[in-house]
Amino acid sequence: MSIATRKIDTDVMHRALANQPLIKAQEVFGEEGVTRLKQLLNFLRIQGQFCRVNRKTQLTVFAPIGIHSELDEKRLVQAERILNGKTINGVLDLAAIEIRPDGTAFLWKGNVNSPLQNQTDAIVYSLVQEVEEFRIGEQCLTVDKFLPGAPSQFLLHHFDDLREALLDYGHSLARHSTCPTLREAWQDPDRRFWFGPGPEHRLRTSLSHYLRCCMRFDDYWVRPEQNIDESHPIDIKLTAQMSTREALIEIKWIGKSRSGDGARFTANYGESRANKGAEQLANYLDNHKRNSPASDTLGYLVVFDCRRHGVKASTKSLTAKQQCHFATREITYNPDYHSTRSDFEKPIRLFLEA
């Protein structure tokens, strides 16, 4: 076996070192800085199991370095000890949280910022409008987004159940098109009447990014932008490498799409399109079963629904009724594979609001 010898790219490594909060904490505060930052990060990871963040979340978590007797007095009346899974639950909107040297955490009531705002003997993490920063002493590090589409790289909620994760994607990212990749699928992301031409790849990418953040499969295969191989009709395949667990996701969209210059509609899909997706998924599951009889595979049909009532090429605005007409209208599937097959999950319709 011959592996190319490649030297470390020193520029990239210098940037990696400069961006690493643990290394910065060591530089600025020594071993104590590393220990305090790890306590803070551990808190974020654990809270991710109990709460979720979104684009509106404004969060500050701070770990004072050294003795801050002024905090001890204020804490008694202004802060409350955080009990995991009890004090903070559901969606986190605004909060300022202190991590004490013994690892306990306190929620400062009515605060969004650290009470140590102007002091530099602390490590402060902040999340505002999906931008995360660490202030370590006087130095500020903006966190790289390794997980595109995730509001936070640290406060991540992992789902056990793929269906639950898909529904959460629909609610938290798809419904208002808050995912940047999904926004690019619209012809005009601020007037969401119809998609631009060929939105499929962006829908796949947006959903697969989200699943990478919140599911624990080992391999995520996403159909490439140019469908060069018709023998792989499925859109996303999730695999757990050391078990037989697999999930196949077929994506369809319904509604209208328009050419890039806006001159004409390029597609107009209704419920029959979703039914076609169900049939494709059923066929693919059958083929897959034949090829991999030992696999424990579940199929999921996800339908992005951007239908608007009575929308025409000349439409400049939509009434509330036009916008919401399809919001709660579920699709009728005939045949309804999910009722007759144990490997076919009930299809999930994600309605995208205007």
């Binding site: 030297k7 990696a16 551990n42 990871r45 757990a240 078990s243």
Partner: protein
């Protein structure tokens, strides 16, 4: 017979994964044990000191038969249990971990295992997996869909070169091994993603 080192590593990493990210899959345990073994190499230990070996699966994930057997043993005796889609350490497992931590042979492993596990504070298991997929040896093996030993002489020589370069660039020579590992993972992600975008 179950390798005592692999048993201890399963408990320690299983405990950290359960605490930090609610549990683990088999492949995540193999991945973190492989990262720990790399850190022992970074720390100047010969690879034989790790006491069990790793190969790569054709999909490019590190795998150790000893570790897999130890995990099966942990499940059999109730130290680790299935919890939905993930595995978790049990209270019996935590008790046994406490006992085994005191053994002299395991004291030195703690720095390597904790160094790898601490990277979970910065990166999710899927991001760590992605970063290692860009590591030249694992990337080569995956590209050729091969199964190969991960610590053959040429690979170990190249890793020594890489670690020597990291050590020179890293403004820290202390004992906390999560610092060099987190910097290397960030480096691999940056290089790997840039390369993928340019192709």
């Amino acid at each position: 017979m179950t390798s005592p080192q692999a048993y201890f590593d399963s408990l320690l990493l299983g405990s950290r994964l359960t605490q930090t990210v609610r549990g683990f899959s088999r492949s995540e345990l193999h991945l973190l044990a492989y990262a720990s073994c790399l850190l022992s190499l970074y720390g100047g230990k010969p690879v034989s000191d790790w006491e069990y070996e790793f190969s790569s699966t054709p999909s490019g994930l590190p795998f150790s038969k000893n570790l897999d057997d130890a995990l099966d043993y942990c499940i059999r005796i109730g130290d680790i249990t299935d919890h939905g889609e993930l595995l978790q350490i049990t209270s019996d497992g935590q008790t046994n971990l406490g006992i085994w931590k005191e053994h002299t042979i395991n004291q030195e492993r703690l720095a390597y295992l904790n160094g790898a596990a601490d990277c979970l504070l910065l990166f999710t298991p899927s991001v760590i997996r992605e970063a290692f997929a860009y590591e030249p040896a694992l990337a080569f093996i995956k590209r050729h869909a091969q199964t190969a030993w991960l610590f053959s002489d040429p690979i170990v020589d190249r890793l020594h070169d890489t670690f020597g370069e990291i050590r020179e660039l890293l403004p820290y020579q202390g004992s906390d091994l999560s610092l060099p590992l987190s910097a290397w993972l960030e480096y691999l992600l940056t290089i790997g993603r840039t390369h993928e975008h340019s192709n």
